[in-house]
């Protein structure tokens, strides 16, 4: 019956899920504990590595999931469903451009904090420049390109999974990914020479 949700059910259990769907807040807390880190990580990617915005997004996601959980029909796995909710919320927020404003604040914080730089081929300063160039480039992606690219690169999802989350055809997802790569190459050409 729940063939697709086997991974989820190992984590939260079918009974817990049913209880949560029925409005049991204790059962929902188990779901919250099981998914909070993964949701936060994904939110962190979607919010261009702005921790504060990612926390807000995580909060919004869990509130929405709680509100809509009774509608979850177990056709996809719970995490995919949660992810879909997150992507929708993020796209709405993206429209409002609030996340970008927050990102700018985050970037200021970043430079002040003198973020620790991993050992690499580049010097520390160059590395910071590259990171800011990367974030700038990410901002150039269209909403669909951004979602597809981040789900693929940061969450390591397959194209078919991304297609399930976004509701786009797999071919379209691949096209958006290729275009995202092309946009990023264009934006980062200074660094690719």
């Amino acid at each position: 019956m729940f063939a697709k949700t086997s991974t989820d059910l190992m984590e939260i259990g079918e009974i817990t899920l049913e209880k949560a769907k029925g409005g049991d807040s204790r059962a929902y807390e188990e779901i919250f504990i099981a998914y909070r880190d993964r949701v936060f990580n994904a939110a962190y990617h979607l919010c261009n590595f702005d921790r504060e915005a990612a926390l807000d997004l995580t909060q919004e996601v869990f509130l929405k999931v709680w509100e809509k959980l009774s509608q979850f029909d177990s056709r996809s796995d719970l995490y995919t469903w949660i992810y879909r909710i997150m992507v929708n919320i993020h796209l709405k927020e993206r429209k409002k451009r609030r996340l970008y404003e927050r990102f700018l604040e985050m970037f200021q914080f970043w430079t002040e904090k003198n973020h620790s730089v991993e050992a690499s081929q580049l010097s520390g300063l160059e590395n910071q420049e590259l990171r800011s160039a990367l974030i700038k480039a990410l901002k150039r992606l269209s909403p669909k390109q951004e979602i597809v690219f981040k789900l693929k690169l940061f969450s390591g999802m397959t194209f078919s999974k991304i297609s399930e989350i976004t509701g786009m055809a797999e071919g379209t997802v691949k096209t958006h990914f290729t275009r995202a790569i092309s946009t990023l190459q264009e934006e980062l050409k200074e660094w690719l020479q």
């Binding site: 807390e29 880190d37 962190y44 926390l55 995580t58 590259l130 990171r131 790569i181 980062l188």
Partner: protein, 170 residues
């Protein structure tokens, strides 16, 4: 270094294939064959891989702190309780929020715009009205004293009659 014979679109596909690691065995064969022969693409892919590894490094957040977890938990469960409450349809509340508030805002906005427009368009008319009001006040004053004026006329006539010499009255 030998120039790459691939079109930019084809190179993009190669890059996409490398980054996504998703493709058919034929595509991967083509990729490895091309990379074996093309130093330009090899160099480029190496660079892109490095940049993208930097990006994935950036994408690793520090784990949630207990304080952040408490904040999230509080917000979610306090918020969810509130949400549960609002799932029960509260028509009076929705009536106020959905209908009355926008209506009140709209009325206020219309009033402010209308008042502003009135003041902007008719300052001269406004002063003229005030003047007119002043004139009419004077007129009212005169009208209220008209009876007294009539009385004065009568008194003047009587005085004239009395002042005339007695012979001239016949």
């Amino acid at each position: 270094m030998k120039k790459c014979t691939y079109t930019p679109e084809k190179i993009n596909k190669l890059v996409s294939l490398t980054i996504s690691s998703e493709g058919s065995p034929e595509e991967f064969n083509l990729l490895s064959q091309h990379l074996r022969d093309c130093e330009v693409c090899r160099e480029k892919l190496h660079r892109i891989k490095y940049i993208f590894s930097e990006l994935t490094e950036m994408a690793k957040p520090d784990p949630l702190t207990p304080r952040e977890i408490a904040r999230l938990r509080g917000a979610v469960f306090e918020g969810s309780k509130q949400n549960k409450k609002t799932t029960v349809p509260d028509f009076s509340q929705s009536f106020v929020t959905v209908l009355l508030k926008p209506l009140a805002i709209a009325i206020c906005a219309i009033f402010i715009i209308f008042a502003g427009w009135k003041i902007y368009r008719e300052p001269a008319l406004h002063t003229a009205k005030i003047q007119q009001e002043k004139i009419s006040e004077e007129e009212v004053d005169i009208i209220s004293h008209l009876d007294m004026l009539k009385d004065l006329e009568t008194i003047e006539k009587l005085v004239k009659v009395l002042d005339e010499p007695p012979g001239s009255r016949s």
